[in-house]
């Protein structure tokens, strides 16, 4: 189940070692991303997620905004 999290929640999860996933296109990721974020663009996420992510740590996913 995916749970919503706000900015303060993201900061707490970062401190706890969560994996931060940026699903924006690579060009946008290269310009700006959250500290420590890994880029897994949406179109590649299903193929790459299992290989690149640690299932033992929380995962936070974000894009530009909800609009």
């Amino acid at each position: 189940m995916v749970r919503a999290v706000d900015r303060d929640g993201v900061r707490r999860l970062m401190e706890q070692g969560a994996q931060i996933i940026d699903v924006l296109p690579a060009r946008e990721y290269s310009e700006d991303h959250l500290p420590g974020a890994v880029n897994l663009p949406l179109r590649k996420i299903e193929a790459d997620a299992c290989r690149e992510l640690d299932s033992g740590r929380p995962i936070v996913v974000y894009c530009a905004d909800f609009a």
């Binding site: 189940m1 995916v2 749970r3 919503a4 999290v5 706000d6 900015r7 929640g9 993201v10 900061r11 999860l13 969560a18 940026d22 924006l24 990721y29 290269s30 310009e31 700006d32 991303h33 959250l34 500290p35 420590g36 974020a37 992510l53 299932s55 033992g56 740590r57 929380p58 995962i59 936070v60 996913v61 974000y62 894009c63 530009a64 905004d65 909800f66």
Partner: protein, 144 residues
Amino acid sequence: MTEVYDYRAGIQDWMGAGLPTEGSNAQRPRLVDVVRTDVPTCALDERLGDVRDRVVAAGWDACVVVSPDRVVLGLLRARELDADPDLPAERAMRPGPSTYRPFVSVAQMRDIMADRHLDSSPVTTSDGKLVGLVRKQDVGLDGP
């Protein structure tokens, strides 16, 4: 089972709060690097004369009108501060000024302020809370 969280507000919200990012843009100066966070503030119901005295004593010529939780409601520039001193700030302020987020680049803000002939503009988080005031001299334009 892996815990998965969705940060729906996304990177716009993160940058809007002035939090650090990584990437090629992170090296370019942004408003968060130059904004004056010591700008005076006042409440809607404060007497304008009292506000003006406080603003001048602090060496400023502008004041941001904010709600109790620091949401920007209006701006008092020199012209508004010189209005009838018995007015409440609410009656004298310029309501709903355009605000800019902390992640806007200094170069972009320089163009905006020059194009719109702005002397100063509030910088806020994405939920409207005051970060500070940016003046044209803060972005490399000639000051007053």
